[in-house]
């Protein structure tokens, strides 16, 4: 063979080898996610903040796992049944191993539940939700029965936040052990590798995961809290995916041929609440600034007038650039207890003016609207839009916008007469919003913890009944009934649901989760 041909074949060989190597690397490509939130700890029992839960879901599994629309689906429990009003029976998945090789069985569930209330500095939240559990009965290594002290419909969804730990960790494991990685051992789709504070967290694929292999062998979360920087990092190609894309950037990003956008309705609904409890609502006066002789929000006609004066569709299309959905109720569609018969309250300023006149305010009045300026998507802007819409029916609105860290302590002191809030609906059904936002405040029973301004005994009875109903169909019918009543009373006025918006480089496909969790196992490499 002449020298030239030799050379040619060597070159061809080299090229082929490179191509094969490149292909192999392409398959094992790591995934880098630019994320807004850094977890506070990797101890899944320390806090139940939703931002931290999304990290736990990578390393740990729960018995029951929420799907993209937050419906309970089998996790480490393959199936379950209701034995009686106070007993659930779970069949556990066989052949599951923890990342350290230990085999999963019923004793791990017992260990996990025992540690839960004893975590030092824990917020006790998941423990609180699981408090109705009176006893865990181990029938055999793969069957457990959970007994509750009274009928409780929330247990199944609450178990979705109970991340199963291996009993081998022992009684003295600390939160620091989890955060250092020593004890961050679960059965989840990824193994914990490292966590550099304020910088990044690295995970490696658990090839033996029972739920199927994720597409990426290595995943790095990089913490980029600044939204503009996050977007730039994706455009520069430094990360493969970013979460919490600012809605204003969506039109620009969708024109970029190198980027794909994925959206879904988030569980978070933004609402306007009016103080109907006190005789004088803070910030509510007549048009000249003098106090009124009674609180106008106590009159249901005034509340309905306000609801009908707000053009929700306009807010979504203009203020949110289309990145939202007008709300019909305090929950997005598809969640347990969603009432299909409810419509978006009609935008009807003439009706509003008529209602106000009937209520004795033909000239209107003035109010202050409490509002965050860094918490929800374009919060200050939609508050101002609401102010202008209300001005058209005669209600003079002063928007008082402030950062969340000032706003929420004020809210807890009931300092506002009218204000904006968003509810995450992380339970995936109506239970959380009805219990915490709508139910009258009852601290001892853990009801109405986010309600300072509203009380309706008929609704309270309805909600209590639903919470104690284990049968799903009957319970959801009760929720739907309660939702209709909330809308009729118009003291808590839903505005719109936010969207979960995620952007990736071309070639990836992402399935957004309604609770805004950013999950690496929901990312797929597009097969061509």
């Amino acid at each position: 063979m002449p020298a030239q041909a030799w050379l040619r074949s060597i070159v061809r060989w080299a090229l082929t080898a490179t191509a094969i190597a490149w292909f192999a690397v392409g398959q094992a490509q790591p995934l880098t996610i630019g994320t807004m939130v850094e977890p506070k700890s990797m101890d899944p029992q320390l806090t139940a903040l939703s931002s931290d839960l999304s990290y736990y879901r990578h390393v740990f599994d729960s018995l029951v796992m929420p799907d993209d629309r937050l419906r309970p689906r089998p996790g480490l429990a393959e199936s379950w049944k209701v034995v009686s009003d106070t007993v659930y029976e779970f069949k556990l998945r066989r052949g599951v191993r923890f990342h350290d090789g230990a085999t999963f069985d019923a004793q791990d569930v017992v260990y996990t539940l025992e540690r839960l209330p004893k975590v030092p500095n824990g917020d006790g939240l998941t423990a609180g939700k699981l408090k109705p559990i009176s006893r865990v009965e181990v029938v055999d290594p793969y069957t457990i029965r959970i007994h509750t002290s009274k009928p409780d419909s929330g247990i199944l969804r609450a178990l979705g936040q109970l991340f199963i730990l291996p009993k081998g960790l022992g009684p003295n494991v600390t939160s620091d052990d989890f955060s250092s990685g020593k004890a961050a051992i679960g059965t989840g789709p990824f193994r914990f590798v490292s966590w550099k504070r304020s910088d990044n967290m690295q995970l490696a694929r658990n090839d033996a995961w029972w739920g199927g292999k994720p597409d990426f062998t290595k995943v790095t979360f990089r913490f980029i809290p600044n939204s503009a920087s996050r977007v730039a990092a994706l455009q520069a190609g430094d990360v493969d995916m970013i979460d919490f894309v600012p809605p204003l950037d969506v039109p620009r990003l969708s024109r970029d041929p190198k980027i794909s956008i994925f959206k879904a309705a988030a569980a978070r609904v933004i609402y306007l609440e009016l103080d109907t409890l006190r005789d004088v609502a803070p910030g509510v006066t007549d048009l000249t600034g003098k106090p009124l002789d009674r609180n106008p929000f106590k009159d249901v006609r005034v509340r309905r007038a306000i609801s009908h004066a707000i053009d929700r569709k306009l807010i979504v299309s203009r203020v949110l650039e289309g990145m939202g959905e007008p709300a019909t109720q305090l929950m997005p569609q598809g969640f347990g207890g969603y009432n299909d018969s409810l419509k978006v309250p009609a935008f009807d300023p003439a009706l509003s003016r008529k209602l106000l006149a009937e209520a004795g305010y033909p000239e209107g009045f003035a109010m202050t609207l409490g509002c965050t300026n860094d918490r929800y998507v374009n919060d200050t802007s939609f508050c101002q839009a609401i102010g202008q819409m209300l001005a058209r029916v005669g209600i003079k609105v002063a928007v008082d916008a402030m950062p969340g860290n000032v706003y929420f302590p004020k809210f807890n002191q009931a300092a506002f007469g009218a204000y904006i809030l968003g509810w995450g609906n992380s339970s995936g059904d109506a239970s959380s919003v009805l219990t915490s936002v709508v139910h009258s405040p009852d601290r001892a029973a853990g009801r109405g913890s986010w309600n300072h301004n509203y009380s309706n005994t008929t609704l309270d009875a309805l909600i209590d009944e639903a919470l104690g109903t284990v049968d799903e169909t009957r319970r959801e019918a009760l929720y739907a009934k309660a939702m209709a009543k909330v809308m009729e009373d118009a003291a808590i006025i839903p505005l719109h649901a936010q969207l979960v918006i995620v952007a990736t480089r071309k070639g990836l496909v992402y399935t957004p989760a309604a609770d805004e969790a950013t999950l690496a196992h929901n990312v797929r490499a597009r097969k061509n």
Partner: protein, 327 residues
Amino acid sequence: MVKLIVGRILQGFGVLAAVSLIAFVGIYAIGDPTSLLIDPQSTQHEVEQVRRNLGLDQPLWRQYVLFVRSLAAGDFGRSFATHEPAMRMILERLPATLELALAAITLAIVVGIPAGLAAGTHPGSRLDRIVMTVSILGFSLPTFWVGLMLILVFAVNLGWLPSFGRGEVGSWLGIHSSLFTLDGLRHILLPALNLALFPMALVARLTRSGAREALQLDFVRFARAKGVAEHRVVFVHILKYIAVPIVTMIGMQLGLLVAFAIVTESVFSWPGTGKLLIESIGRLDRPVVVAYLLVIVSIFVVLNLLTDLVYLVLDPRVRFAAASQSE
């Protein structure tokens, strides 16, 4: 001399006490952080328990006394949010901030002093006008905006440099820093430049005005008359004369860069203390904010002292004054 050092250190403690008290009262005035730290769906009982755990159920003065008492034992308290020791959280992130500040001040000196000298020794020239104009931009453009523009141009459009974060950390003589790796240097260039713009402009202007002033002075005229080479006049005689104010300024700027790297750190997601401070303020995480302020004030106190000492070396007049004082 010893008196000066001891006096400065005592002063420093006074400032530390005042700052911790102000931070304490300030954050207390904003409100109760409990509502930001826990899930909205918790019950009142759970809220009370969290407040008790964090010691927030105590009156303010008692909280402060408890804080000072544990401070005396070297304990800065634990973060409300992560429950980690506040000082550890800061010290973990401090190297990143320090290396960013050092890189920025080096850039500022390396670019600012030659530019200032060149402009100052050629007053009215085109070069002078360019330096003056650019330095105005360096003062007045908001750091936030410049940072984003740097990212857009160099990372997004040109793709030369990474858009955010700290690079690989190398070690040299037992010091760990991203300044020792190529990847680290690539990462630090944009944020350091962003942070350097302000002090660079300041150094350039100060050098320029100092040099202009020095040109008129007798010793410069004498050196020239004597036939000393121009570069020697500029780089030895003039530079030495104007060094004192520039050193003071650089000393103070270094402190400011460490303290106010906040904006640059957030724009470039630099894992330093500034990013930590912003997040901690956002969730009213008092132990971390107070510990941060104490660290920063300590740095200022030390830098102040060092600046004074460098003065002594550079300016014989100060040296003699200090010597006669301590006698």
